[in-house]
């Protein structure tokens, strides 16, 4: 019918396009990843990138439509890009005013294990010296509830929290009493060796979840986590069974820590997690704090060795999924949430502004407040830089407006520092002031010299390279990126 126009009628005359803000980083030879201001990505060849920037990209180029659709450029055929980008940017930052959501309570430093990589514990029976008192607990609960967050999570740590279960109970009961219309959830990070029916019953009645350590199959786990006069692995595994039976599968999770001995066994460790019926694994690197440095377990492996371990582990997990087994790697999925959605995965280490204090806080057994668990570990090593107050002596204002905290957040702001400012992965990464203070005595850190940066950079590049050209992995990763998936 002559009343219909052709498609060319609706294409604009080939005028110039406008670039929208974006950053780019090399992915591999001839391949670049671009990220727009809302953290959305596209991969192009170098030649395309150059043409794009020099305003030489023709509208017939195979990437042109995608680049316009994904808001890397805009032209006179559309003008909604700016508003959409603004909406998405707002969404990405919308969780910030919720402020501190994770509140860790170190209820005791005492522990009956003696893991070489442990940051903090004390093998001791001296309760007075190393247990959190009722007064400290009560003041900590008040501070936690002072957060504007509509929902907070209280995580019990140690040492071994079950060694001071009375205070755990006190905190749960008091928090529930005082919470008004806040939602409060609870989790105990425990090695499960001291799990009793009483503990399980209390957890069931009060919806307390359990998080435990499982480093791999028995031999590896016990080597990493020696328990004088005992078998840590057996305790963990039978503990997991009991918790599942009483609290349910969704209420128990496990974390692994990588040591030098773990590095050659990624598949075995993952198999152990499968065996215990866990839905995923968090491949965590060894952090450079606490006993780890003292016993030299940290210096033993570096970025490359850990990356090799991570890749083997991730590939094994992908293979499992290809066979129809639903299993996730959680560090990857945390990053993927930032790649595929504008939601925050709520993972403190991958936040900018840094999550210290404003997303997480830790109340030590003696009332000292630290803005992250790593900061506490640094203090145990003698560096009290991040000591920002005491629950028994300081007010909420004094603690959260402590200049040391505010300066650290402001100075480490990733968008404001060299290299991060231009990095295509900045939206997926984090500021990490505590790590850099610990390693370089510098809140910002020189990123080229930073193991944090190197490690993450390798992971980011690996993730994106893996998705390009493998539709199965892209589909899997897209699913992993969903919050609550």
């Amino acid at each position: 019918m002559s009343k219909f126009q052709t498609v060319d009628f609706y294409k604009s005359v080939n005028k110039d396009y406008k670039l929208l803000p974006f950053r780019f980083t090399e992915l591999e030879d001839n391949s670049y990843i671009l990220t727009n201001i809302a953290g959305e990505y596209h991969v192009v060849e170098r030649e395309t990138l150059e043409k794009l920037i020099r305003h030489q990209l023709s509208s017939g180029n195979k990437d042109y439509l995608d680049l316009r659709s994904k808001q890397f450029l805009t032209d006179q055929n559309t003008s909604v890009a700016h508003e959409l980008l603004a909406i998405k940017l707002r969404t990405r930052y919308s969780v910030l005013p919720e402020f501190t959501g994770l509140h860790m309570f170190v209820v005791t430093l005492r522990c009956e294990h003696s893991c070489p990589y442990c940051q903090v514990s004390r093998q001791s029976d001296d309760k007075l010296a190393y247990d959190m008192s009722v007064e400290t607990a009560s003041n900590s609960v008040d501070l936690a509830l002072r957060s504007p967050s509509r929902a907070i999570k209280i995580e019990f740590q140690g040492g071994e929290p079950l060694l001071n279960f009375d205070i755990v109970k006190y905190i749960v009961i008091e928090a529930n009493k005082r919470k008004q219309d806040k939602e409060v959830s609870f989790v105990i990070a425990t090695n499960l060796a001291l799990l009793t029916d009483e503990v399980l019953e209390f957890c069931k009645e009060n919806n307390v979840q359990i998080s435990t350590s499982l480093d791999g199959p028995q031999e590896l786990h016990n080597k990493n986590r020696p328990k004088p006069e005992g078998n840590s692995y057996q305790a963990a595994v039978s503990g997991i069974k009991r918790v599942k039976a009483i609290l349910g599968k969704d209420n128990v999770s496990a974390l692994m820590t990588t040591t030098f001995d773990s590095l050659s066994k990624p598949e075995e460790i993952i198999d152990e997690y499968l065996k215990q019926g866990l839905g995923g694994i968090f491949l965590r690197p060894l952090s450079p704090y606490g006993w780890a440095i003292k016993t030299k377990t940290y210096t033993k492996y570096n970025v490359d060795m850990w990356h090799e371990f991570y890749v083997k582990g991730l590939e094994y997990v992908i293979e499992l999924n290809r066979q129809g087994i639903k299993f996730k790697e959680y560090y990857t999925s945390t990053i993927l949430t930032k790649v595929f959605t504008h939601n925050s995965p709520g993972y403190v280490d991958l936040m900018s502004p840094a999550g210290i204090g404003i997303a997480a806080v830790i109340y030590n057994y003696d009332g000292t407040v630290y803005p992250s668990d790593e900061a506490r570990m640094l203090a145990e090593m003698g560096d009290k830089y991040f000591d920002i107050g005491n629950v028994n002596k300081n007010t909420y204002e004094e603690i959260w407006l402590n200049p040391k905290l505010l300066d650290a957040i402001e100075d480490s702001f990733a968008y404001s520092v060299p290299m991060c400012n231009e990095c295509a992965f900045e939206d997926y990464c984090g500021a990490e002031p505590v790590f850099h203070w610990g390693m370089q005595k510098d809140i910002v850190g020189r990123k080229p010299e930073s193991e944090w940066c190197q490690r993450n950079m390798k992971i980011f590049k690996y993730i994106f390279k893996r998705m390009e050209g493998d539709p199965f992995v892209k589909k899997l990763f897209r699913e992993w990126g969903q919050v609550d998936a």
């Binding site: 910030l96 402020f99 402001e410 520092v417």
Partner: protein, 98 residues
């Protein structure tokens, strides 16, 4: 004693001082403006061996670059950063409404 000159158009005394401070346990530092240049006099601490001198000078130059870039970026991105941090603290009751 080592002398290093920096182009005063590209670097400020503040950058040099901040960088030098990080090496206060390695060398002492003086800076003076001479024409278009900022000239730094670095005197190695007695406990630093001469073979380490090149290493620390190198590190110092890197640190100067670092400081200059950090300063520039911090200023350029100030508006965005302040917006985001204000937004972060907006519900805490810790900042006063103006």
């Amino acid at each position: 004693m080592v002398q290093i000159a920096f182009d005063a158009n590209l670097y400020s005394a503040d950058h040099l001082k901040k960088a030098a401070y990080k090496f206060i346990d390695k060398f002492s530092f003086q800076v003076a403006k001479k024409g278009p240049e900022l000239v730094c006099d670095l005197e190695l601490n007695p406990n630093i061996g001469n073979d380490a001198e090149d290493y620390y000078i190198n590190q110092f130059k890197k640190e100067v670059l670092d400081q200059e870039l950090r300063d520039k970026l911090k200023k350029e991105t100030e508006a965005v950063r302040n917006l985001i941090l204000a937004h972060t603290f907006s519900k805490t009751g810790l900042i006063s409404d103006e």
